[in-house]
Amino acid sequence: MRSFWQDIRNGIFTENPVFVMLLGMCPVLGVTTQAVNGIGMGLATTFVLLGSNLVVSLLRKVIPGEVRIPSFIVVIATFVTMVDLLMLSYLPDLHKVLGIFIPLIVVNCLILQRAEALASKNSLGRALGDALGMGIGFTLALTLLGSIREFLGFGTLFSITIIPNYIPFSIMRESTGGFITLGLLLAFFRWYSIRKQRGKQA
C-alpha cells in the first residue's frame, strides 16, 4: 500500500495535473494572468478536491455504479457553490478577478477524474492524500504559469513592481500568451524528464 507522502509527491511531480496529465486546461489558461490569481484558483480547486474526494470515498459503498457520475457531479457542484459563496463573502476582490472560473470548477475534469479513478475505489486516507497532492500540484503549476505571465505581461510579481517603467509584452496578458507559456513549460518538463530517464539507463 502506498503511503500518504507518496500520494502527495505523486500529485506534485509524477502525475502533476497540469504538466503531466494536462487536465483542467480552462482555468489554467484563463486565470493565470497574475500569480495571485493562480494561487487563489489553485486553493479553491484544492478545497473542492478535498471535499469531493472525502465525500465520494465515504460514500463509495453506498452509491450504486449506475448513478455514480450524477452523484459525483452533485457532490462536486455542492463544494464549488460553497467556495463561490464563501469567496464572495470573505475575498470579494479575488472573486471579482476569478469570476466565471469559480463556478466552472464543477466541469474541471481533474476533479471528476480523481473522484472516478481514485476516491471511488480507495480508502479515506488515500483519497485525502491524493486530493492534497493533486491540489498542491495544481496550485504550484498555476502559480508558476501566473508568475511568468505576470512578469512578462506587467513587469511585476505578486503585484510588486520588479521593472519600473516596463513596456508590457501585452500578448502575455491574453490567453494566447497562456498557450505559448504552457507549451514552452511542457516542452521543458518533457525534455527534463527524458534526460533524467536516459541518465538512469546509461
Binding site: L59, V62, I63, P64, E66, V67, P70, S71, V74, V75, A77, T78, T81, M82, L85, L86, L88, S89, Y90, P92, K96, G99, S170, R173, E174
Partner: protein, 184 residues
C-alpha cells in the same frame, strides 16, 4: 428494495443533503455579508457623487427584491438619482452607474465593472473623456446613439457601443419609471 428504487433513493438523498447544506450556508453565513457589502459599495458611490443628502433610498423591484435605482433625498424631495445599468460588451457585460439630478441631466457616468480586452476595450477606464461626453446630456430629451450623439473610442468600438446602449437603457428606465415625479 428493487435496484431501480435504490438508484432513485440514493440520488435523491444526495441532492437533498446538498441543497440543504448550501441553503444553510447561504442564509446563515454568506448571504448577509454579501448583502451588506453591496449596500456599502453603493453607499460609497452615492456619498461621493450625490453628496449632502439626508437619506439615500434604495428603490427595489417588488417582485424580485433587486435594487432598481438609488434616490438621494434632501428635505423631503429627491434631488438626484443613481441608476445601475449594463450592456453586453466584447468580453462580458459593461456595468455602469448613471448619476443624474432631479431634472434628468447626467452629472456622472461611472464604470462599475468591465472585462474588456486589456489595451483596447479597457480604454473606457483609461480614457475618461469618453464617459465625460455623457455629462450634461439629459436622460429625458437626449438620445444616446453611438457615432451620432456620442463619439466612440478609437480601437474600442464594441465597448463604446455597449456603454452607450447601457446609458440609453437607463434613459428608457428613467423616462418610464422616474420622470414626471412618478417614482413608481
Amino acid at each position: 428494495m428493487p435496484k431501480s428504487l435504490r438508484l432513485i433513493f440514493v440520488l435523491t438523498i444526495i441532492c437533498v443533503v446538498s441543497a440543504s447544506s448550501l441553503s444553510y450556508i447561504y442564509n446563515n453565513i454568506a448571504g448577509p455579508i454579501i448583502e451588506e457589502r453591496n449596500t456599502e459599495a453603493a453607499l460609497k458611490i452615492l456619498n461621493e457623487y450625490l453628496p449632502g443628502a439626508d437619506d439615500y433610498q434604495f428603490v427595489k423591484n417588488e417582485e424580485t427584491g433587486k435594487t432598481m435605482y438609488y434616490a438621494a433625498i434632501k428635505s423631503g424631495g429627491v434631488f438626484g438619482v443613481a441608476l445601475p445599468t449594463s450592456a453586453m460588451g466584447f468580453g462580458g457585460p459593461v456595468e455602469l452607474m448613471v448619476v443624474s439630478d432631479s431634472s434628468g441631466t447626467i452629472t456622472n457616468v461611472i464604470v462599475l465593472g468591465q472585462t474588456e480586452t486589456p489595451g483596447y476595450g479597457d480604454k473606457i477606464i483609461t480614457q475618461p473623456e469618453f464617459v465625460e461626453q455623457f455629462v450634461n446630456m439629459n436622460l429625458i430629451s437626449d438620445e444616446f446613439v453611438i457615432n451620432s450623439t456620442v463619439d466612440a473610442i478609437a480601437g474600442a468600438t464594441v465597448t463604446s457601443e455597449a456603454a452607450t446602449k447601457a446609458v440609453e437603457k437607463a434613459a428608457q428606465f428613467y423616462k418610464s419609471n422616474i420622470a414626471n415625479g412618478g417614482s413608481k
